[in-house]
């Protein structure tokens, strides 16, 4: 009866965290799970209608497909969940990721049957509410960013980047003068060059200036008529507003190039400034950052793209059209780049973002950006004597970046400090990004955190800096209260075990 696979150990719990094997190891032959409905019709058996060689053998165990009871399923995942840290668990200042509160009401709304139960090929007359929502969201995003038109199709930020670059490529191709290069600052997120490459461009890197921002002259140096676009991020990944943006976009436009802005950092700008007024031609939004939709442990997100008129013809199809009071899909878009995926995008994520915007209103969005900026500056101010600021001390936008320079003399790295922070009940910031800052510690508090929480974070960071001086082994051995101790990532790559095998 006893399965050897069950580890019998006294240490069943760690806190209330249970040990839990792989689901495949909990399997028991013949054990029923949630059994589906019976056919209930006089239909054939598979063997009667499909040639045998197309079928799995009748008793095929599917390489050890699990067989567990409904309760075992629920317990398995409940226990797994308890090894995780989410926004609802505690402070999550993961820079660039905008880990703000995910409103519960949005989760309820996204689960309304009138939204979840829609097939993408239903006649348009049956999805007027959904189309209205999408049309409305496009309009709101246009207004927030100052762009002329928006597509909701891309599935995430990087997908939106790719979409934008494909449009840019098409724009030049259609003009009869295809361009080969894209300029990207060294501070850019990795998806930027990857997307550029995927869209067929050669990446030209431009260095950000000593102040942590791009200069028009640096851009001028690499700008030429081969350059299709400059991909910038504003505020950039150092949390700094690209002060010279107007001059920079002028340089690029003067050469007939276009400006793509990575909109992942829009949380700093809502109601404060519009990218469209800075010369940006195309931008992607991360609804799963700025607009409060949850990250889901790695998606799903949604990466709408906003464009100026000049790029509008190239937007993916279908577009959403309003004629009188009736909404419909418009497929007659001959200059469109086509589609980035099947159907229309991550609709249920749009529902959440739409709900968020409706709940906040214009004034609320501005207040959110303001509070996000205030929180980041507060952290910067209180930690700048303890940690080395990545760049000169100037007001930052929604996030701030430090390095581990001051701690390195004690043999302590950013990684150690990040792991130690876990022992304080706080999720580590983004680390080692942007790449231009050695040992970067990138802190984005977001507006939904109270000053009390932020004070606790500051206190923790200072304490850790002190520990780095006095007892660095505490940091080296961190984290110490988690389900597992520091994980051997090198071994994972060196001796790959990427699946369970029976």
């Amino acid at each position: 009866m006893l399965k050897e696979t069950i580890e019998m150990k006294a240490e069943g719990t760690r806190g209330l965290q249970m040990e839990e094997p792989l689901i495949f190891k909990e399997s028991s032959k013949g054990r029923p799970g949630v059994e589906p409905a019976r056919p209930g019709v006089a239909g054939p058996k598979p063997e009667e209608v499909i040639p045998k060689r197309f079928l799995r053998p009748p008793d095929d165990a599917m390489d050890g497909f699990p067989e567990v009871s409904e309760m075992e399923t629920v317990r398995h995942y409940t226990r797994l969940s308890q090894w995780n840290f989410g926004i609802d668990t505690g402070f999550y200042p993961l820079g660039s990721c905008t880990m703000k509160y995910n409103p519960k009401v949005n989760e309820e709304i996204a689960r309304l049957p009138g939204f979840t139960g829609l097939h993408p090929y239903q006649p348009e007359g049956l999805i007027q509410g959904a189309l209205e929502l999408m049309y409305g969201l496009e309009g709101y995003l246009s207004e927030i960013s100052g762009m002329d038109a928006v597509t909701l199709q891309p599935s995430a930020g990087a997908h939106g980047e790719l979409c934008a670059l494909l449009m840019i490529a098409e724009y030049f191709r259609e003009k009869g003068s295809p361009r080969k290069k894209v300029i990207i600052p060294d501070t850019a997120h990795g998806t930027n060059p990857a997307s550029a490459h995927l869209a067929g461009f050669k990446v030209v890197t431009v260095k950000s200036g000593k102040e942590g921002v791009l200069t028009a002259s640096a851009v001028k140096e690499v700008m030429d008529d081969e350059v299709a676009a400059l991909m910038l991020t504003n505020p950039n990944t150092l949390g700094l507003f690209e002060t010279n943006i107007k001059e920079i976009t002028d340089v690029v436009h003067d050469h007939g190039g276009l400006i793509f802005c990575d909109g992942a950092n829009m949380n700093a700008l809502m109601g404060i400034a519009k990218l469209g007024e800075m010369g940006v031609d195309v931008v992607q939004f991360n609804l799963h950052k700025t607009f409060s939709t949850p990250h889901g442990g790695g998606g799903p997100g949604s990466g709408p793209v906003g464009v100026k008129k000049v790029l509008e013809p190239y937007l993916p199809k279908p577009r959403i059209k309003k004629t009188g009071e009736v909404y419909s899909f418009d497929y007659l878009r001959p200059r469109s780049i086509g589609r980035m995926k099947a159907f229309y995008g991550n609709f249920s994520i749009m529902v959440r973002a739409y709900s968020y915007i409706r709940r906040m209103g214009g004034e609320g969005l501005r207040k959110a950006s303001e509070a996000a900026i205030l929180n980041a500056n507060y952290i910067k101010e209180k930690l700048k004597d303890t940690f080395q600021l990545a760049f000169d001390d100037r007001p930052c936008m929604h996030e701030c970046v430090f390095s581990d320079r001051l701690q390195q003399e004690h043999g302590v790295t950013t990684m150690d400090m990040a792991k130690r922070l876990i022992d304080y009940g706080i999720h580590p910031p983004t680390i080692y990004f942007p790449l231009v800052v050695p040992g970067a510690i990138m802190i984005e508090p977001t507006e939904t955190e109270s000053l009390e929480t932020i004070d606790r974070f500051i206190w923790s960071m200072k304490n850790i800096a002190e520990e780095a001086r006095t007892s660095p082994e505490l940091l080296k051995n961190a984290p110490r209260n988690t389900k597992v101790k520091r994980v051997d990532e090198t071994r994972a790559a060196r001796e790959p075990v990427l699946r369970w095998r029976a």
Partner: protein, 449 residues
């Protein structure tokens, strides 16, 4: 303000700390000319109660597949989702977490993905799987790029029985190399991709063939034979699956010679949601692992030797390799993959096989009923799983709208995507189409003639 905890006093104190008089002062790095002078032109904020009311009203301006009797499929399937799924994915430790960059506080997500990867391998018969891609269509596009990297060839063959929107997506991804993509026409009789036609289409520069299985018409392809043809020519066989429930019944592509199996896992655990979020899956052979895009979770140990999981092979990815990455993908469809895994685990071996049989049984029962109607003929001759085509006398649009008056969505008129199939309708039946709904559909369709 909703969700912003700052009291006036908080703001004052924080400003004092940062040494600014006002928040405006903190914005000094934003050139004055760029700062907005007036507020955003957006509707006024709503109370939570008001919001819920407004959005409920909006949702009720849609009709759902529950309000109607729907026989739509075509890449998006209405399946019963066990209640276990919602109860797991609504646990905030899962859904409010980021991508598991810090393994020590993400073992839940990581083990769940590791298990998901295993489940995908078990379904497809392949060696390795990634953690998910955006959707089935973009997964096919990624697979095509991957095949081009593996073979260092350019040519891409798409079966024309591959989902039209998938083909379109491949076309978009390969916009800059549009001449390298060509299609292999399906057999107008059998509705499948013929090995002979594939062989004829292959050139020395052909990197891959993409064939959908069961294909867009619901027909089961002869993957083994296609593989035989391609193996000889060093062409990668990409099998796309939009209805993975079929994999519980059908010999898995991995056992039939497929090199990459991609597709859409929405059928497991993810509601229709008007087409998204869904989740692309990708599985391949061990040897191609390093060319596979997307996140991959691996098993390892912690410092004390405990079993542990983490993201691995990051050197393929954008945040390390930047423009030399295998893909630009970052945020993928994590929670959708979790939902799929919970659904699969809930079903278990017996359950998933029963589910597949129920689907097949219902579809064949429906097909037989429909074909018995005068004016309705079989679309294609091949065996199918849970969807099939019929050919009708008359205009499908007219017939479908007559059915709609009876609250039946009778399927998808294929001329939308295949001008030559102007009388064809693609019809799908799953476990959600109850026997009485099927009978009513057949009766009402008969009425329309």
């Amino acid at each position: 303000m909703p969700y912003v905890p700052h009291t006036d006093r908080d703001i004052e104190e924080a400003l004092k700390v940062v040494g600014a008089e006002s928040i405006e002062e903190l914005l000094s790095t934003v050139p004055a000319a760029l700062r907005l002078k007036k507020g955003l032109d957006l509707p006024r904020g709503l109370s939570e109660q008001g919001l819920k009311k407004a959005l409920k009203a909006m949702s009720s301006r849609n009709s759902t597949v529950e309000d109607l009797s729907s026989f739509l499929g075509a890449g998006s399937y209405n399946h019963y989702i066990p209640s276990t799924v919602e109860s797991v994915i609504s646990r905030s430790e899962f859904y409010t977490a980021y991508t598991p960059y810090q393994p020590e506080v993400s073992q839940g997500t990581l083990q769940a993905i590791f298990e998901y990867q295993t489940l995908v391998c078990q379904l497809t018969g392949m060696d390795v799987s990634n953690a998910s891609l955006y959707d089935g269509a973009s997964a096919v596009a990624e697979a095509v790029l991957m095949a081009r990297r593996i073979t260092r060839r350019d040519g891409v063959l798409l079966s024309s029985a591959l989902h039209p929107e998938y083909r379109e997506t491949v076309g978009t991804y390969l916009k800059g190399a549009r001449d390298s993509v060509s299609e292999v026409m399906y057999c107008t009789e059998a509705g499948v991709t013929l090995p002979g036609a594939v062989e004829a289409a292959c050139t020395d520069d052909t990197a891959c063939l993409v064939v959908q299985h069961p294909n867009f018409f619901g027909c089961i392809e002869d993957v083994e034979e296609l593989s035989g043809v391609l193996k000889k020519k060093g062409v990668i066989l990409i099998v796309a699956v939009t209805e993975p429930v079929s994999l519980a019944l059908l010999n898995p592509p991995g056992r039939l010679g497929a090199d990459i199996v991609v597709g859409e896992n929405q059928s497991f655990g993810n509601p229709l949601n008007l087409g998204g979020p869904y989740l692309g899956f990708m599985a391949t052979r061990e040897e191609y692992l390093r060319q596979m895009p997307g996140r991959i979770v691996g098993q390892t140990v912690d410092r004390e030797g405990r079993r542990a999981y983490c993201l691995t092979f990051a050197t393929r990815e954008q945040h390390i390799r930047r423009e030399r990455a295998t893909s630009n993908i970052c945020t993928n469809q994590g929670l959708c993959a979790l939902a799929a895994a919970v659904h699969l685990v809930s079903l278990g071996l017996r359950g998933i096989k029963k589910l597949a049989r129920t689907n097949l049984s219902r579809a064949y029962y429906l097909r037989k009923k429909l074909l018995s109607i005068e004016g309705v003929a079989q679309g294609f001759a091949s065996p199918v799983f849970n969807e099939f085509t019929i050919r009708i006398d008359g205009d499908p649009e007219r017939v479908l709208s007559r059915l709609l008056e009876k609250k039946i969505i009778g399927g998808l008129a294929l001329k939308r995507f295949y001008p030559e199939l102007k009388n064809h309708i693609l019809v799908t039946a799953t476990e959600m189409n109850l026997p009485e709904d099927i009978d009513r559909f057949a009766a009402e369709l008969r009425e329309t003639f």
